[in-house]
Amino acid sequence: MKIMVCLKQVPHQDARLDVDASGTWIQEANIKFEINSYDTYALEEALRVKDDTESEVVVVSIGPDRTTQALRTALGMGADRAVHINDDEANGSDALGIAKILAAVAKEENPDLIFMGLMSDDGNFTAVPPMLAELTGVPHTTAAVGLSRANGTLTVEREIEGGATEVVELSTPCLVAVQTGLNEVRYASLKGIMAAKKKPLDVKSVSDLGLSGSVGAASAKVSIEKIAPPEKGDSAELIEGSTDEIVGTLITKIKELGLL
């Protein structure tokens, strides 16, 4: 079994988010990055398959030099090999452009399974997994909160609304986009981190994948015009003062609601 796991390195969830000079993204200098939370569950699920069936886990990420750290972390957790698409020509790609790059990698790797997160913590697009599945011609499902495997068939519980789940079955080769909370994600052990230094990490360019001129900003069908803090519409009336004063005001409000 060969499993491809697509990872994105994103700003740490507690990182300070300041808009950069272009107004189209955040200032990335001097902030910490981490593996997208959703993708950590995807990687864990792949490593669990590897734990009980002989498998190769290949992690793939698109990004600048800093992305190496995310891939090394994934190798430290137990992935076998990494592919890093590090090319300025990929910059400004929209979700479809990213899916095209990953599809080109998938074509080279020919995995039985592709695992990835449902969305990224930065863009929150929820777009790339179904796109990648369409471009590679495999079935997919999203928001997996439970997963079991038997004889090439995956039974996936996907999260729907109101606390319910929907059970679907699909056969390999296929793609599963996972929801957070699917499993308990392992940490890289010291031994794992040492071993990771010797594991292969291939760096590829967009042209290595035969995609020169078809991804990146010039080919993007959608682009960010600007980002900004959300408009403060009818934002909250802020209550200030000492703890006693604040609590007193809250009690008054709750009484006004007729709930005390």
Binding site: L132, A133, G181, K221, E231, D234, S235, I239, I251
Partner: protein
Amino acid sequence: MGSILVVTEIQNGEIREASYELASIAQGIASGSGREVKSLVAGSGVGSLAEAFASKGGGTVLVADDDALANYNVDGFNAAIRAAVDEADADLVLISNTPSGWDVAPRVAAGLDAGFVGDCFRVEVEDGSFSFHRRIFNGKLDAKINAAPGKIVATIQPGAVAPFEGSTEGSTQPLSVDFPDARVQFKEIKTSESTGVDLSKADIIVSGGRGVGAPEKFPETIQPLADALGGAMGASRPVVDAGWLPHPYQVGSSGQVVQPKLYIAAGISGAIQHLVGMKASNFIIAINKDPDAPIFEVADVGVVADLFDIVPALTNAVSEAKG
């Protein structure tokens, strides 16, 4: 000029409210963009639903009526939407950002080699081209996204706009769809087992988020306030993901959608998926250390402070007030 295609969604035998919200967006931008509104109603035995939708903002309604569409399955709905896009000559396709919407919409976009924008709360038309407003970084920033000329598929956040309520002249026409074999087989829906946690009936909910910091702090700090007020305890997604509380406590689009008389959010920053689940509450009090937390936008009253200073003191004050 092409059309704007509204992809409706059927839930419990009805066209869901989110579909009327799509109709509202489509009707609002149709004339400005020189496009007409068309819709897709896809399901099994949906003829009368389609008729009704045609007169309530749906415009020309394409009806895909087939047993293959009795339950959501990505292959069947992908085929139906693709057929509708062709038939309607649509260059903007609107789909609700629901569990089935986010599952199929990007696949449709990739198949069309079209642009895609996910989870938008506003769509605008300027000089005939479309732009989209959406949140990024889990609600902490807003982004305006522009679409290049050509087809575009957008998913829309349920509840972002008011549903269409007028009446329109519309018509229905059958849509023929070539269904592929379903490679993703629907098996069953599992509803959450009864756990005694029914937040939907609570008048008062006190929810804790990542800011609560540790699982034992819920029974120590959050539950006592809920108990003092005679309410129930809830939580945000990260709390459930971390295993601090079981899933039935989760408030949000993937958990319980609640509408209590009073909702107190403690240590919850306010990711969109949480806000969707609680913003219809009658009165919201938010307590968070971060003054920029998105929760303050939907709250009626905000306290920028450490929840561990405020919540225990509030619990005592409530108990005293009740005598």
